[in-house]
Amino acid sequence: MVLEQQLLPYFQWLLYGGNGELGALPKFALVFLGLVMAALVVGYAIAAARHGLLRGGDVTYHTIVDGLREIVDTSPRRIWALARLAIKESLRRRVGVALGVYFLILLFANWCLSTNHQDPARLYLSFVLTATTYLVIGVAVLLSAFSLPGDFKTKTIYTVVTKPVRAGEIILGRIIGFAIVMTVLLALMSVASYVFVVRSLNHSHDVEVDSLEKIVDASGNVTGRSGRTTASAGHFHEFRLDAEGFATTSTVNGHTHEVEAVGDNSFRISGPNGFIRARVPQYGKLRFIDRSGAAKDRGISVGNEWTYRSFIDGNTPATAIWTFDDVGPHVREDYLPLALIVRVFRTHKGVVGRPIQGELRVRNPDTGATSDPFPFDAMDQQVDEYNINRELTTNNGQPIDLYDDLVTKDGRLEVLVKCLERGQYFGFAQADCYIRMPDGSPAASYAKVCVSIWVQAVIVIAVGVTISTVVSGPVALLFAAGFIILGLWRQDFVDIATGKSYGGGPAESVYRILTQANVMVRLEEGVLTTLLVGFDRFFAKPIMWAVAQFLPDFSAFSTVGYAAEGYNVPWDRVFQDVTTCLAYVVGLALIGYFLLRTREVAR
């Protein structure tokens, strides 16, 4: 699974940060302070323009003081009344239609999805979860953007604001009401989609009786039978029954079946196992040794623009080395469960149809004691699972114990991976090798993915409600949609604002579009281009940078990849997302409060 940034433990993320980022709480405080300062300056400027310098200051002061007092006076009962109103309004606006549309999508989804796929669970899960995400966010935008403007248009807001209702209660009530609607909608969609995926992937096979062959050991005793299943869902499995008549089939399309002989030629085959998983990885730290044997932080580049993975050359000393902490019998008493994902980069075809070979060894980082290599066939981007037995031998054939001899006293262990074929390359990122902890519950992990969708929907609702305090419904809709789009490409936006990505600012871009000069063309020097570049540098880009500070990274919120690729969503991730959501709701509700409070409702 692609994990570009290491997931920090919740409290470290909240307080101290990491990965070159500040802690979430200090960052929130800084952004909040920045916004408050900006709001003070803009608010005073407007008040001074309307009422004069002194009276403007007085108005600004009273707005802030009264605002703070009103926050204290906030009543949960009023908020709940307004939330109930928002729920009723949503029902009146036929929010249930979204559910109907969703069921319709599921009804016809099987026309486009196939179980005859290398990883059908990934296909199905990513489809249903992506559909859920877009539908829920779409409904959230529509509901939130048109609600308050609707009240302004029909003037029903008059009868609300002339009651002892604080502006913040109107904002929070709307957000909470729509969030409840979204929660119910999402819950129904999630249950329906989970049932849909499980039922769609469910299938069974029979045993191909003609394929059965006896397995005979060296002394001629029959130790079992081998055979294969009939084809179903576009595939079949091979199996080897043991002496008791039990077998687990080969893994095909990401799943296995249990086979049990219940008579001479009668078998019972279970439904698919392992389609939907929630792997719990324990990641290590990755470093490299290059072809000359020198230690490196990264491998070599094979020319990919995406630098997530770096590569090691085949048949050279180049090695990828992961160091794991906290290794010991508590993981597994009798073996160490490992998983390895290899990105294979070929410079020549090699032998057609034959995978590239590699080897894996485990080593004690202190003593240097190393196990015999385990050869493996690397299939590109497939999760290969290995169980490293406790009883191992060293290079020179000495027996050693995995946990006693290769793991240090403080629980460290190194895993070394090499590519064995000349002219071929293996690519690795830190998350490509991990210790497999016991799998989590797939249903629970699925629910956690839904929480991340919920988080996105609630942020969108908060944005929609807040902006709709000052603009009409369609404008609020466009703003919220723009917010989501910018949020989805936040990193690109930040990279342009900070000059990390080249492409000029908005003014330069418009100029390039109009003059049909792509980014590789050097702009002609002149007064106009100087002005445009200056405008971007000193005005547009600083604004873009400021906007980026409170723009949510929607692409990072999505945990659909976890479920689709069969990984458990860590609780740290869930808590971080929910905390971020809470911060947005609080921040946006405050902004919405002042926007609504300073608006003439009857204009």
Binding site: S75, R77, R78, Y158, V160, T162, K163, V165, E600
Partner: protein, 293 residues
């Protein structure tokens, strides 16, 4: 009526501007008003005279360009004042997907009322405005009169001390109009202060103690209705069962004292009175048709 000032405006001015800040219209010009506890105060004026703007400024729905509006001694922008006032807008701007019961319950919750108090208020107000049989119906099914009545009920949900009524009889039939006026007088008897704006002069005359007449945003007249309407140089005599001789004698007396007789004839009732009499009679004796006495 006491001397306690419930509502006050000082040089209250409102200028409407366009998006670019250019002046569009000066809706209210330096209005000075005081409304005392327990009185029914009427704001009169033709359309566009600034009546509704004044009400909206008092409610904090608009911000004054200059001057200030005080309600219970607090600035109009103070939300706290709303605890003690009720407002019936020109049209009943209510959530049409709610039933009467839900509407009142919703507004009751906005006053942070406990469920017990809220339920009691909802029941009594629905009874008061005569909507018992329609309490479970959505407002979108209501007639204009019913909507006005539930609008009034929501304005009274908190048993307010001050009630602002914007064109309270607008869109009502004569019976509804009379009921509304009776309701206003009843509320006055309960000690409430009422400010109403209307361009229906007869309505204002019937219920208001004092009036202010606005025209083009300026206060043109302010005072007690009875004083303002008294024509000092005209004497009105009303008598029953006078013979023709007696009427002639009165004419002679007036002439002898150099008075000018303006009119001596049989008075007409108001159309409102006639209409109400007919409707009440019809309710008392259903089936009777016109011309059959």
């Amino acid at each position: 009526m006491s001397d306690e000032i419930v509502l006050q405006t000082r040089a209250l001015t409102k200028v409407y501007r366009d998006f670019w800040g250019r002046q569009k219209v000066r809706a209210l010009k330096a209005l000075d008003l005081e409304v005392y506890r327990g009185e029914v105060f009427g704001l009169l004026g033709p359309n566009g005279s600034g009546k509704t703007t004044t009400i909206k400024l008092l409610l904090g729905l608009l911000f004054p360009t200059e001057g200030e509006a005080l309600v219970f001694g607090k600035p109009a922008s103070d939300v706290g004042k709303n605890e003690r006032l009720g407002y019936l807008p020109e049209e009943s701007y209510l959530y049409r997907f709610l039933t009467a019961e839900e509407t009142l319950d919703f507004y009751g919750r906005l006053f942070d009322m406990s469920p017990t108090v809220r339920n009691e208020r909802v029941d009594s107000l629905i009874k008061l405005v005569g909507l018992e049989r329609a309490r479970k119906r959505q407002l979108q099914e209501y007639s204009k009169g019913m909507t006005r009545r539930i609008g009034l009920a929501q304005a009274l949900i908190n048993d307010p001390e001050l009630i602002l009524l914007d064109e309270p009889t607008s869109g009502l039939d004569p019976i509804g109009t009379r009921e509304m006026k009776d309701m206003i007088l009843r509320l006055k008897d309960e000690g409430k202060t009422i400010v109403m704006c209307s361009h229906l002069l007869a309505d204002v005359q019937d219920v208001c103690d004092r009036i202010a007449i606005l025209h083009q945003g300026e206060l043109k007249e302010l005072g007690r209705v009875d004083e303002l309407l008294t024509v000092a140089d005209v004497t009105q005599i009303r008598a029953r069962n006078l013979t023709t001789d007696c009427q002639n004698e009165i004419r002679d007396v007036i002439a002898r004292h150099h008075g000018e007789l303006l009119a001596m004839d049989n008075p007409t009732t108001t159309l409102e009175e006639l209409f109400l009499t007919i409707v009440r009679d019809s309710e008392a004796r259903p089936g009777r048709r016109a011309g059959v006495r």
